[in-house]
């Protein structure tokens, strides 16, 4: 446990730095855009309603959707920029709204007086309205800041570094220490930044006090000191680091963390420098490899076939393989080769439950499906595979529930559902003694794991040489055991990776 904690804490400086830069940049941009917009809205009723409506609508979008949309609008660009833009958009509502409210709440008699003594509209705004509205505006900025620190954890999914790296990796690899470290770090940052802004505001209000007490001076000095340190820490991240030779990416589940680690180790041992972008969403990482921001990752044929080629047919394992390779070639993505294992969807039941009902294949479910409940991951029941399965077997389940992956396995193990959409290389299949049902009508797709490389990386022979050694090197069983070490036995990715390399060396 303490090894685990030490391992996590070693990551803290980089994640802290990434999170801080992202938050401060987004908040600063948010203030720079939102305060003038708020001022404009307060002066013109025609601007105010539509503007407030737009920023409110942005807020109602799920934050993940905003991130995904920004990535799409930027042509698949990942990393800092899309996260920065999405967080900036998200920070706008409280700042714009509080600026408008703050300005509107300035007493009419004060404004009349300002006008009456001969202040110009500009002077009234700068010297009377803004200073009087400032406490309300700062309250809005503080709200936005706390939101932004929290939401920045999601930016991990689009490849920006943040405390979200802890949380997503931890959730998917059942590393609760990582989740705790990430959550605590994020919460502390929110509290810390909020306190910093609050004390700046307090100092600003004290500015007019004639005599500076020694205590006030000390407080002022420390607030300025902390601000300078924080800003320089954030800016430090802007110093361009030497770009790694290759960027290795992965999606947010155990097998992908292990495979990304494997790719990175192999490349590093061959003398290349490597940067890892872990826990990215499927669509995001695929866009990134097409435009070359990511050089290599492991994808599955069925995913490309159904998600990116939008095919509804199932030509069988070989048919999908050749179709996918050809399609990727057109997309300027090189298929280095197949790793040897397949991570398909399969319907699975507890072995005792299957025995009790006399089920070994999906066909056996047909007469009883209407009385069974089924659980899936977040995607399966929305995929064409499921629709095809439903039509080919002409059956449907009484209940269909969707779960987070680890909860899906728990649900079937605890008999809350009868059938789940299991992953064939998942260690939990064996751990919970699940039976994978045969699919005689070939409804479910093949999902051969394959190493994909960007056009740029594939053009380098040394790179291809390293990765060629991984082709056809990992059997299903080895991958399943490696996953199991993490998912069931609670080992770290490093341990699973060592095991996998040991198995590969035997062949």
């Amino acid at each position: 446990m303490s090894d685990n904690l030490r391992e996590q804490l070693l990551l803290l400086p980089a994640y802290f730095q990434g999170h801080l830069l992202l938050t401060l940049a987004a908040i600063s941009m948010g203030v720079l855009i939102s305060v003038p917009l708020g001022v404009w809205a307060e002066q013109s009723a025609r601007v105010k309603r539509p503007l407030l409506a737009v920023v409110s609508i942005i807020q109602t979008f799920p934050s993940l959707a905003i991130l995904a949309l920004v990535v799409a609008l930027l042509g698949g660009r990942i990393g800092f920029l899309p996260a920065f833009i999405a967080l900036t958009l998200y920070s706008m509502l409280p700042i714009v709204r509080n600026t408008v409210t703050g300005l509107e709440s300035v007493s009419a008699s004060v404004i009349d007086a300002a006008k009456g003594i001969g202040m110009s509209p500009n002077q009234i705004l700068r010297e009377v309205k803004l200073p009087l509205a400032m406490p309300v505006i700062v309250a809005g900025i503080r709200t936005a800041m706390v939101w932004t620190v929290g939401l920045a954890t999601l930016s991990t999914l689009v490849g920006a570094t943040s405390f979200g790296n802890y949380i997503f990796t931890g959730l998917q690899t059942r590393n609760l220490v990582a989740v705790m470290v990430g959550s605590l770090a994020s919460a502390s940052l929110a509290v810390g930044l909020d306190g910093l802004v609050a004390s700046m505001q307090w100092l600003l209000e004290k500015r007019s006090e004639a005599a500076d007490s020694a205590r006030l001076k000390r407080i002022r000095l420390s607030v300025y000191g902390i601000t300078v340190i924080i800003v320089s820490l954030a800016l430090y991240g802007l110093i361009p680091k030497p770009r790694a030779d290759f960027v290795v990416a992965g999606k947010p589940f155990t097998e992908q963390y292990i495979m990304a680690g494997l790719l990175a180790q192999e490349l590093e041992e061959a003398g290349f420098s490597v940067e890892q972008r872990l826990g990215m969403g499927t669509a995001v990482v695929y866009e990134a490899i097409r435009n070359g921001t990511v050089d290599v990752y492991v994808e599955y044929t069925g995913t490309v076939w159904a998600n990116f080629m939008s095919r509804e047919s199932n030509p069988g394992r070989e048919g999908i393989r050749s179709g996918v390779v050809e399609f990727l070639e057109e997309q300027n993505v090189t298929t280095v080769g197949f790793t040897g294992f397949q991570n398909r969807y399969a319907l699975a039941m507890r072995r005792d439950r299957a025995l009790e009902l006399g089920v070994t294949s999906i066909e056996d479910l047909i007469p009883i499906a209407a009385e069974l409940s089924a659980g899936s991951d977040l995607e399966f029941f929305g995929r064409t595979e499921w629709f095809r399965l439903r039509d080919l077997y002409n059956m449907d389940f009484a209940d269909k529930l969707t779960f987070d992956v680890s909860l899906m396995y728990t649900a079937v193990a605890e008999r809350q559902v009868d059938v789940i959409s299991a992953y064939t290389t998942d260690g939990r299949v064996a751990a919970y003694d699940l039976l994978l049902l045969d699919d005689p009508r070939n409804a479910l797709l093949a999902y051969d794991a394959m190493i994909l490389a960007s056009g740029n990386a594939a053009a380098q022979p040394e790179f291809m040489q390293v990765l060629d050694t991984l082709v056809d090197s990992i059997p299903d069983e080895a991958m399943r055991q490696a996953n199991r070490l993490v998912d069931v036995d609670g080992e770290s990715i490093t341990v699973a990776l060592e095991y996998l390399r040991g198995e590969m060396a035997k062949n």
């Binding site: 007086a113 300002a114 009456g116 003594i117 001969g118 202040m119 002077q123 009377v128």
Partner: protein, 255 residues
């Protein structure tokens, strides 16, 4: 000093007139009271003098210059303005409030400071004691004293007042009325004061203009209004102060 020539004001493009064809001349050093019920056009008339409102037609001259030819902000900086809302800046100290107009006129720091001390002394709130306070630490009467000090800070020749003492309790009000009257006389200020309190107008003003529905019914000294009201409405509004004065006199005689 101030001249209104055939001034009209309409807020609805001429359908109804808030101020109808009004001509007035206010001499240098004169104290004019503008009196009438709510909505009679007295405040609109006042606000047109420093261009807080623009006349629909007619001309207004201050110091022989047409106000329309002057930058409205410059114009207002040279005319003191006191109103019922007071409108002290709550984020500024009392001294900073008094200094507001001289600061807009970009006086030197030394001049501003000296003038602040002078004006605060004049309204009975010494700079050393009150200068660093925040307006919220003052009573209503003290706040309006500072309002007066702010209006006088840049040495204007003209001061416009819109029911300046209306929100004060009667004792504070009469104290302030008397003090302001003596300041006005010492400094030979030209004052236009809007009020709906006939007693106040009678006690302070050199001449009184009575307005109703946008029209000036009569202009005259307090004595003329009391003795020769030219209009039933004028007779009615001077009747009350007159009755009160008679009643007070009787009370004193009976003692």
């Amino acid at each position: 000093m101030i001249e209104l020539k055939n001034v009209q004001k309409s807020y609805d493009g001429g359908a109804t007139l808030a101020v109808a064809n009004t001509s007035l001349t206010i001499e240098r050093g004169e104290f004019l009271g503008l009196i009438g019920a709510s909505g009679c056009g007295k405040t609109t008339t006042l606000k047109m003098i420093n261009r807080l409102e623009e006349p629909s037609s007619g001309e207004i001259l201050v110091n022989d210059r047409n106000v329309v030819d002057q930058n409205p902000e410059q114009l207002r900086r040279n005319i003191g303005y006191v109103f019922q809302g007071i409108g002290l800046f709550p984020h500024r100290t009392v001294a900073e409030n008094v200094a507001a107009v001289p600061r807009l006129l970009q006086w030197s720091a030394g001049d501003i400071r000296a003038r602040c001390e002078e004006c605060m002394e004049m309204v009975g709130l010494p700079f050393d004691e009150y200068g660093d306070r925040s307006p919220s630490q003052l009573s209503g009467g003290q706040q309006q004293r500072i309002g007066v000090a702010r209006a006088l800070a840049a040495r204007p020749e003209v001061v416009l007042m819109d029911e300046p003492f209306g929100a004060l309790d009667p004792i504070t009000r009469s104290e302030l009325q008397e003090e302001f009257k003596s300041i006005q006389q010492n400094m030979a200020l030209t004052v236009v004061m809007v009020t709906h309190d006939m007693t106040e107008a009678l006690l302070l003003a050199d001449r009184i203009a009575v307005m109703r529905e946008g029209v000036v019914l009569q202009i005259g000294t307090p004595k003329e209004l009391l003795n020769n009201p030219s209009h039933d409405y004028v007779r009615d509004i001077v009747a009350m102060p007159r009755r009160r004065a008679q009643r007070l006199e009787e009370l004193m005689r009976n003692e």
